[in-house]
């Protein structure tokens, strides 16, 4: 067998070679991978690569962020709207460690990202040299793959592997750490895209018997319920999903990251799952007879108490990552495949059907939820402005067609609950890691990636202050990001939990904020504050119609709670409406 392997290698045709530096090879390799944008921050150990980049600055748009964490989130925002890996540059030591939060975020939210860090030269490795840190060791648990380059000739290979791994299968972040001597050194450059890796199976093929078994369960089900995950968007299976749902008539709900895979006004779309999701989807999870989960991982924020989660139902789980199948919820039929391929295979095998009575049960829940929660939030009449009012107006004025970027906390749950998405890949949020400070840089990245789309960042007053230095990046790039700060002068979600579960002991959640409007103007970004209900429409018009970036601070009700809510550790059927 080894013989055949070697033979294979030697018969591959050899592309033309030329001698260049490792640094130039980095840039040329990135160009080969179609990279047009890099989010980064220079420093000692990556200076040779930045020097090479200087000569290619008309081909690659480098965005100088103000903190490396911002680079990662911007790359994530970019990756989510483009459906391909975002790229970050950072130097060694603190530059590299500042990437860690964003890498962990990208890993848990399956976002393709290629991070390139500079490293001290090989002869200084392990000597505690200036700005030396073991970023390979640090990032190992949170990257899909990482690699330390110590010789210039490894560079094209490492970059080709990196993009292949980041973009294929279940996407994720990769990191390449390039020692400075490899950047300075020379190599005979040639580039070959990675086509496969023998130890890695990114495209598992569904077993015919699993497809047949799943179709049978679907055809027999009286109360089937479908869960749309992020995987639907990643595999670009929106059309296949819609066809499948329309043929089978199955009520369908979305996870946080699955939002926008299906238009919110679709007659079979019944809402949003999880802790602050809609009433119907949570309650009905424990009443359905068949649960069909596509491209999702049964996160605890979706399932609540697993022991009381859909125990009555049979479960079909379509998932590209085999380690997710049977991880949290035991499946009846697990289909280890790409969502699009699996849906294509299933479609001809399922019968045309409708579940009108069952669907009506969801609509009845909607009515209860509207009467108990939503009506009051949309039309409170008096008192301070509610977050939901803003999102409702924003949704109408953007016709549900904007890219909504949210941070983490109450505003995130309200915005994702009430924004009526119409187009795929329109919801960008930190789901799994729950990274405060995500939205501002992610919105910048999304706008850079899709300048043709309206990008609106909805952020809380707490999260905004975690990465607000990226206001300077937004000003420098003039990316027309629309920023809404929903300011309640509290770390609202923690305060809500303190109120509900810690007897109102508001331990360090009250926050004294800066003057956000003045702050924004100091960065050169136009801004105003909204505090009166009658000005909501005009304020949002102003925000949306402004040519460049704009910030709108909204003073909202201080001690507002987000409902519905499945209390932590409770069953989804114990969802509270008040």
């Amino acid at each position: 067998m080894t013989e055949t392997l070697t033979k294979k290698k030697s018969t591959q045709k050899q592309p033309k070679k030329k001698t260049i530096t490792g640094s130039e090879a980095v840039i040329l390799s990135l160009l080969e991978e179609g990279v047009d944008t890099i989010f980064g921050y220079p420093g000692g150990a990556i200076m040779p690569i930045y020097d090479a980049l200087y000569h290619y600055r008309n081909k690659i748009n480098h965005i100088l962020v103000r903190h490396e964490q911002g680079a990662t989130h911007a790359a994530q925002g970019y990756a989510r709207v483009k459906g391909k890996a975002g790229v970050c540059f950072a130097t060694s030591g603190p530059g590299a460690t500042n990437l860690i939060t964003g890498i962990a975020d990208a890993q848990i939210d399956s976002t393709p990202m290629v991070c390139i860090t500079g490293q001290v030269p090989v002869h200084l490795l392990g000597t505690d040299a200036f700005q030396e840190t073991d970023v390979i060791g640090i990032s190992m648990p949170i990257t899909k793959w990482n690699y330390k380059v110590t010789k210039p000739e490894e560079i094209p290979w490492a970059i080709a592997q990196a993009f292949y791994i980041a973009n294929n299968g279940r996407p994720g972040p990769v990191l390449i750490d390039i020692a400075k001597n490899a950047q300075f050194g020379e190599l005979e450059y040639s580039y070959e895209k990675c086509q496969k890796i023998r130890s890695y199976r990114p495209k598992p093929k569904a077993h015919e018997k699993d497809i047949t078994a799943a179709a049978e369960l679907i055809n027999q089900a009286k109360k089937p319920f479908l869960l749309i995950g992020h995987g639907v968007l990643i595999s670009g299976a929106e059309k296949e999903l819609q066809k499948f749902i329309e043929k089978t008539g199955i009520p369908s709900a979305s996870t946080l990251l699955g939002l926008s895979a299906m238009p919110c006004d679709h007659p079979l779309y019944v809402g949003y799952l999880g802790m602050h999701g809609n009433y119907g989807p949570n309650i009905k999870t424990n009443e359905c007879d068949l649960l069909i989960a596509i491209g999702m991982r049964f996160d605890d924020r979706v399932t609540g108490d697993l022991k009381k989660y859909a125990r009555q139902a049979k479960v079909i789980h379509i998932e590209i990552d085999p380690s997710e199948i049977d991880k949290n919820v035991k499946t009846t039929v697990g289909i280890n495949a790409d969502a699009k391929e699996a849906l294509k295979a299933l479609l001809p095998k399922v019968k045309k059907n409708n579940h009108k009575k069952w669907l009506q049960e969801f609509r009845d829940c909607d009515k209860i939820e509207f009467d108990k929660v939503t009506r009051h939030e949309f039309f409170p009449g008096k008192g301070e402005i509610k977050m939901a009012e803003i999102i409702n107006v924003l949704s109408e004025k953007t016709k549900g067609e904007a890219v909504l970027v949210t941070d983490v906390g109450q505003h995130q749950m309200v915005a994702t609950r009430y924004y009526k998405f119409k187009k795929p890949n329109s919801n960008i949020s930190s789901g799994g890691l729950g990274t405060m400070g995500f939205a501002l840089p992610a919105a910048l990245g999304a706008k850079i990636g899709r300048p043709d789309r309206q990008v609106v960042a909805v952020i809380g007053d707490g999260g905004f202050q975690m990465t607000l230095q990226e206001m300077a990046t937004i000003f420098q790039t003039q990316a027309a990001v629309k920023i809404i700060i929903l300011n309640n002068d509290f770390l609202g979600m923690v305060r809500q939990w303190q109120q509900l579960f810690f007897e109102k002991r508001y331990s360090f959640t009250e926050i004294v904020n800066p003057d956000f409007v003045a702050l924004s103007k100091a960065f050169g970004i136009e801004a105003h504050q909204l505090s009166k209900r009658e000005n909501i429409n005009s304020s949002i018009d102003k925000l949306l119609s402004h040519k460049g970036p704009y910030l709108l601070e909204v003073k909202v009700e201080k001690e507002e709670n987000v409902f519905p809510m499945v209390p932590s550790g409770a069953s989804v059927s114990e969802i509270r409406l008040e």
């Binding site: 067998m1 080894t2 055949t4 392997l5 294979k8 390979i136 060791g137 190992m140 648990p141 899909k144 793959w145 990482n146 330390k148 791994i165 496969k196 890796i197 023998r198 130890s199 890695y200 990552d321 085999p322 380690s323 049977d326 991880k327």
Partner: protein
């Protein structure tokens, strides 16, 4: 996956802790050991023993890991291990599916022999052998399962054991099926 399925279908108590042997076949890359142990430490699991060596295929390394845990956990571990890009395949084995061996070295003082203890007889009875006789001490070698090497340790202990070292477990599979399938898979991928 047949190996995994047979373990899943085993209707014995899934939540009972017992010993499992795991074989992991990987590329020969720096840092893989770290990558593999992270899967265990993340779940706060203690590895009992770990050995690694190149396998019968050049460039493919084999890790043999023993661990005490439950069925449920071990099947998740296997999937997590296989998720590592540079891991080619991971197997979990029941004791009956594999042939295993360990090696132990015992350093005992020469004076133990002088005190009327018949070291030679202990060595003979235990199917051990004397590896070296140095000035002041003897080194005994014993291969076998852990219970055998432990037994010899207990026999020698009263006479003074200066040093004792036991290797991790090495294992080969009893049935050729799994390995064959896995080899064919690699072959196929390279066509």
């Amino acid at each position: 996956m047949s190996n995994l399925n047979s373990i899943y279908n085993d209707q014995t108590d899934f939540s009972r802790e017992r010993e499992f042997t795991i074989s992991v076949f990987t590329e020969n890359n720096i840092g893989l050991l770290n990558h593999i142990t992270i899967v265990f430490t993340r779940r706060n699991l203690n590895i009992n023993s770990l050995t690694t060596s190149e396998s019968e295929i050049k460039g493919i390394f084999r890790f043999t890991i023993t661990i005490r845990t439950t069925h449920d956990t071990v099947k998740k571990l296997i999937k997590q291990l296989e998720k590592i890009v540079d891991v080619i395949k991971a197997f979990v084995h029941e004791e009956k599916d594999i042939i295993t061996q360990e090696i132990a070295l015992y350093k005992v003082p020469v004076k133990a022999a002088h005190n009327g203890v018949n070291i030679e007889q202990i060595v003979r009875e235990s199917h051990a052998r004397i590896l070296a006789i140095e000035n002041g001490y003897i080194v005994i070698e014993k291969t076998g399962h852990q219970r055998d090497t432990q037994k010899l340790f207990e026999k020698l202990e009263p006479h003074g054991v200066l040093e004792f070292a036991r290797s991790g477990r090495v294992a080969v599979m009893r049935s050729a099926d799994n390995l064959d399938k896995f080899l064919k898979e690699i072959e196929k991928k390279h066509k």
